[in-house]
Amino acid sequence: MPNMNGMKIALIGSAIAALGVITAPLYVDLFQLMQLTVFAAMAILALSLGFIWGYGGILCFGQTSFFGLGAYAYAIAAINYGDSTPALVIAIIVPVIFAALLGYFMIYGGISDVYLGVITLTVSLILLNLVNSTAGDFYKIGNARLGGFNGIPGVPTINMPGDSSYILSPEQAWVLTGLALIAVYLGLRALIASTFGRIIIAIRENETRAALLGYDPRVYKLLTFMIGGAVAGFAGALYVNWGAFVSPTIFALGLSAQIIIWVIIGGRGTLIGPIIGCLLVQWMVTEIGAQQTLDANFILGAVLIGFVLLVPKGIAPTIRDLVASRLQRNKSATAIEDVKP
């Protein structure tokens, strides 16, 4: 019984956004377009955590693991195939398999939120060390040298499906990434409105009750975790495509923290929130990078603490609740319903 009004608003908003994405190259210069492209890829990553945390109730502190695995899988596959189409598919499959394995051990073990957060964070740290150690000729997958801390340069960027000689221009890559963000947003919206989505929300709300009604919470949580891995991996592929380069810093603690901050600022339990949070923080980090006085970590940390203490719900849900209570007040002024059963 999804809220059809909300879906309508989302569709109209998405249509307008899509129009903006397609026409942007006409009035935005190339440098800014490149900037927007990476923002859009990051926003997809934000959606992946917004989905599993905000709707699935899964506290993942290491979402960058799947992002990084997707990025590396894309780079390695694209170098080997010389074509981006299979590489994109592999960039989704690899993180999904990894999420399935990791998720199985954590979710079927029945560990607490605190443990899950810490373990997922640890995974990203260990992947960082692991990939960092792959310098030298020995570490090769097919034609792709992993390159250790130097990363993989010269990754083939996205081409037209079926024609590997037609490489997308930066403008086309922007349109692709921007539309991908909108598509992922709508896809997750539809998923949340589906029976599956209702059930994962029910499990988030009360796992015991869901189990007592015959739903196996572990299966649904694992699937949610895997979907999050898929979306993050896809974002990783688009991110590599932006810079034609990937290095182990993609697994670093800084990015893990940022993803969490995006979702905290934007708000859990909405999809638009994480996108807003991501865009705000990315813009802020770019601005901080331009000055020398304050360290970016310092500001990010202060923002995180500030939101946890003062706006724990995040921007989007806070605004939504304000609007709702305003509407409620107007309504209850006109009619007082009898709500006794």
Binding site: E205, N206, L212, D216
Partner: protein, 241 residues
């Protein structure tokens, strides 16, 4: 030959550390039977329910549902075999509407359209239609209790366990709950845990008394309420009324 009972426990026992919360309980329930389960606080009634629904694994002994051993099965597996429970503290989906709570429960066995109809039907039966669109988290304790009963009914179980369904209700509401239970009992078996003896008298046929985790007596409601041991156990608490 006697028919296979709907539910049967054999030597069912659970211990926490040194405490035996449920002690070698042999319990049997026929199809479509209505049984009341009483006993003082700490007698092990809620723990017994947790063992029946898989929320706790037994330390010893077995639970059989229509002859099938379900001891140690997971809650969702037992639920799918047709056991529904209203827990003592309401377990509901707070951020969802009343309608959605019931729909989720119905959707487990039915397609979306039918689930909507079934949820609607149960809301009418439980008089929840007026609050269908309200978020359950904002409702009163009594209303949440009704919503939980609604989700249990929407799952269409053959056996329903109700843990203190009349707690915190007004006199009228208690009477309605009793009527409802008798109505449900036309199709389904129930085990009802309750402290309110007036309520027990309204619905009970056979009563099982638990004391310190073990079955003290199991008999016709009048016999049980007049039993000396039962009165001692309760120390006259509400029993004389």
């Amino acid at each position: 030959m006697t028919p296979t009972p709907l539910l049967e426990t054999r030597n069912l026992t659970v211990r926490f550390g040194g405490v035996t919360a449920v002690n070698t309980v042999n319990f049997s329930l026929k199809e479509q039977e209505l049984r009341c389960l009483i006993g003082p606080n700490g007698a092990g009634k809620s723990t017994f329910f947790k063992l029946l629904t898989g929320q706790l694994p037994p330390t010893e002994g077995h639970v059989h549902l229509r002859g099938q051993d379900i001891s140690g099965a997971m809650p969702h597996q037992i639920s799918r075999l047709g056991v529904g429970i209203k827990t003592q503290v309401p377990n509901v989906f707070n951020a969802m509407t009343v309608e959605e709570n019931l729909w989720i429960a119905a959707r487990r066995n039915h397609l979306p359209k039918f689930s909507t109809d079934l949820a609607e039907k149960i809301m009418v039966q439980l008089r929840l239609t007026g609050i269908a669109k309200r978020e359950v988290g904002q409702l009163s304790h009594g209303q949440r209790q009704w919503v939980e009963i609604g989700t249990v009914l929407a799952g269409e179980p053959d056996l329903i366990l109700l843990d203190e369904p009349a707690a915190g209700m007004t006199h009228d509401e208690v009477e309605r709950t009793a009527e409802l239970i008798l109505e449900i009992n036309k199709k389904r078996a129930l085990i009802v845990v309750e402290h309110d003896m007036q309520f027990i008298k309204m619905i009970a046929k056979t009563v099982t008394v638990l004391h310190q985790g073990a079955v003290l007596i199991e008999d016709d409601v009048r016999t049980v309420l007049q039993d000396k041991r039962v009165q001692d156990v309760y120390l006259g608490k509400g029993l004389a009324a």
